[in-house]
């Protein structure tokens, strides 16, 4: 061709092309979430619930366990004095629902944390270990997954006798991590072969450092989604257990136990079951919506390809 072209001396001198708005992953996710109306509603709802339950001592008109007037105030329908009515033990249902929310949500969050922590550690260990160790670890998980979880939980708490709240958290957390470990193992195995992980090893990084610096941030997305699901599941589980009488110790209020108090007379004294029930439904729906929103915001957009 013979064209004499001046040899290039400089490298990339134009600013990088931004096909998506600038900012780190967290900022972008935040923006995505705020964009979708369904997620905004869910977040608002959850925020409201958290504020209400955390502020229970200030917002609740009565002590949740106070028997206000054993005769005159027994099982009264909602009124101005008692917006959610009273239960068969003459306690203010609104207060019980507010304080109960602290218990339910607190138990759910803590148990979910246990689930995610144990599940992640176990799954990562399996994924990064040798094939035999991996196989052994996962067979244990398979075995545990084949047991019906609710029955297992029920048996555990029933046999234990009187369960305290911390123990309940532990039981709930330690029976729910199996699915998470499978998820984490699958994700880590897939990531392990990605070139940037190989690059990290080539730089001299050890397994633990590589895990925390490279693997964990990149599985954060599915973990977050799994986390919202975990919280949601524990809420339902706890409600179920308390409803059956083996959850939170009597007379502690949780949404499940309040429902139980009103279970005998559902048709007549509907307010005792409906209000906590509504709280559970709203929370679960909001968490589901948040999980969906997170899944959409985090997954395909995460690596936009020019």
């Amino acid at each position: 061709m013979g064209a004499t072209v001046v040899a290039e001396s400089a490298g990339e001198l134009t600013p990088p092309r931004s096909r998506t708005p600038l900012g780190g992953p967290a900022v972008r996710v935040g923006r995505e979430l705020r964009g979708h109306p369904r997620t905004r509603v869910a977040l608002a709802l959850l925020a409201g619930l958290v504020v209400a339950t955390v502020g229970a001592p200030l917002l609740a008109p009565h002590d949740p366990n106070a028997v206000l007037d054993a005769v005159a105030l027994k099982s009264l329908p909602p009124s101005l004095a008692h917006p959610f009515g009273t239960d068969p033990y003459s306690r203010d249902v609104l207060s019980r629902v507010l304080f109960g929310g602290r218990v339910t949500l607190g138990v759910a969050l803590l148990a979910a944390a246990v689930t995610m922590g144990v599940g992640t550690a176990y799954g990562a260990a399996a994924a990064l270990a040798g094939p035999r160790t991996d196989a052994a670890l996962m067979r244990v998980v398979d075995a545990m997954l084949s047991l019906p979880r609710v029955l297992l939980l029920f048996a555990l708490v029933a046999l234990w006798g009187q369960v305290t709240v911390p123990l309940l958290v532990l039981f709930l957390g330690l029976t729910s991590w199996f699915g998470v470990s499978r998820l984490v193992r699958a994700e880590v195995r897939a990531l392990r072969e990605r070139e940037f992980v190989v690059a990290a090893r080539a730089l001299g990084g050890g397994t633990v450092a590589v895990f925390f610096r490279h693997l964990l941030p990149n599985i954060a997305a599915p973990l977050l989604v799994a986390g919202t699901l975990a919280v949601r599941n524990v809420i339902l589980l706890e409600a179920g257990l308390s409803f059956l009488g083996v959850g939170v110790p009597h007379p502690l209020a949780s949404w499940g136990s309040v429902i139980r108090d009103g279970a005998d007379q559902v048709a007549v004294h509907w307010w005792i079951t409906v209000f906590p029930g509504l709280a559970i439904v709203l929370t679960v729906l909001a968490l589901d919506a948040l999980g969906d929103g997170l899944r959409e915001a985090l997954d395909p957009r995460q690596l936009p390809r020019p």
């Binding site: 040899a7 290039e8 400089a10 490298g11 990339e12 001198l13 600013p15 990088p16 092309r17 931004s18 096909r19 998506t20 600038l22 780190g24 992953p25 990605r194 070139e195 940037f196 190989v198 690059a199 990290a200 090893r201 080539a202 730089l203 001299g204 990084g205 050890g206 450092a209 610096r213 490279h214 941030p217 990149n218 954060a220 995460q302 690596l303 936009p304 390809r305 020019p306």
Partner: protein, 372 residues
């Protein structure tokens, strides 16, 4: 199973004067194939099957071949990112395979790697600056402000604006991301870099920028490259010596000039003649190989290339004997048990309706006497 480890013991003959920086002998990597309920081994993918070569300090050894030939696996085995099944890898005299974890980590400072895919070789969750800084952190070469300064300097050296250190990989183009990968490798100040198809995923104009950059860096820092690629034009441009691989074996090894002027191995001839030439007036006769590349799980017996070979003297011996890498001409090693054919022999084959390489690949003179 493995070819008799051809010892280019004539390292001197291959143009390597002093002790080579990297020395590979009989490198083998077999990936077992598991079948059945209990994962019984049912054969192996012989990705790399007895590869030997030397790399002298300051030179660029090109490794070229098509998909499945084992070049990428070879590069990773040399760095022990994949554990070889057998063979010896010596870096500055040290046996790489015998090192423990700590010593291996220290060695990793000196031997680095650049990857092919600019989109998957950078952690999408880390800023570009953090990516480049990682090597400094792992080897405790610099901290805090000193590390930041070093990162900015490296980015500048590869032609990126230092201010971009706080941006994320997805905000850059393919060529820019590749530069980040180069900066990351340079951060630990290696002597030797395995370039694993660094420009294959880039557009032509960007390719040229990155190739120039790699050559500049080599000159300025005295680097040694093992340059893996499938693009023959790129290899010819950048490599001092070239090894051609096919199905896990090195089939030809020579200086770049010799290889491109006079390839002696039939596969290399076919490979070179297959490259489309950007000149519409050039005569288009080429060797078209029949059939597909066999699977590395089930390579042909004897010479792995024999089913597709067009050598006039191909016979049953080719299917039986695994050819060792022999020096057929000074500094020019070929894995073929037959002599390179003369022009007359090619002509006779063509007259009989067979193949003949394009004129430019025919031997210039009678082939050199085979070394006993």
């Amino acid at each position: 199973m493995t070819a008799a480890a051809a010892t280019p013991a004539g390292a001197a003959a291959a143009g390597v004067a002093a002790e080579p920086l990297l020395s590979v002998r009989g490198l083998t990597k077999h990936f077992p194939i598991k079948r059945g309920l209990f994962g019984r081994a049912a054969g192996a993918v012989k990705a790399v099957d007895g590869v030997s070569f030397d790399v002298a300090a300051g030179e660029t050894l090109g490794v070229v071949g098509e998909s499945g030939c084992g070049k990428t696996t070879t590069g990773r085995c040399v760095l022990r990112l994949i554990e070889p099944t057998s063979g010896e890898v010596r870096f500055r005299g040290t046996d790489v395979r015998a090192l423990d974890a700590g010593a291996l980590r220290r060695l990793r400072r000196e031997m680095q790697i650049i990857f092919q895919d600019p989109f998957s070789s950078l952690n999408p969750r880390m800023t570009v600056g953090a990516i480049v800084r990682e090597g400094l952190t792992v080897h405790r070469l610099a901290e805090g402000a000193a590390a930041d300064a070093r990162v900015r300097q490296l980015l500048d050296e590869v032609g990126l604006r230092p201010e971009y250190a706080s941006r994320y990989p997805h905000e850059f183009s393919g060529g820019q991301r590749q530069r980040v990968g180069i900066a990351r490798a340079l951060a630990v100040e290696p002597r030797f870099i395995v370039c694993d198809e660094p420009v294959s995923a880039l557009d032509v104009s960007v390719q040229a920028q990155v190739i120039n950059l790699l050559q500049d860096l080599q000159r300025d820092r005295g680097l040694t490259y093992l340059f893996i690629a499938h693009d023959l034009s790129v290899i010819e441009h950048i490599a001092t010596r070239v090894a051609v691989m096919y199905l896990g074996k090195v089939v030809e090894l020579a200086t770049a000039e010799r290889l491109y002027a006079e390839p002696l191995m039939p596969y290399t001839q076919a490979l070179l003649s297959a490259v489309p030439v950007p000149d519409p007036t050039a005569t288009k006769r080429r060797i078209v190989l029949s059939g597909d590349v066999p699977s590395p799980a089930n390579p042909p017996s004897g010479c792995v290339f024999h089913p597709r070979c067009h050598h006039p003297q191909k016979d049953a011996a080719c299917a039986r004997i695994v050819p060792p890498l022999e020096e057929k001409a000074p500094g020019h090693w070929v894995a073929c048990i037959k002599q390179p054919p003369t022009a007359a022999e090619w002509g006779a084959q063509q007259a009989a309706g067979g193949t003949r390489p394009p004129q430019r690949y025919l031997p210039l003179a009678a082939p050199a006497a085979r070394t006993e």
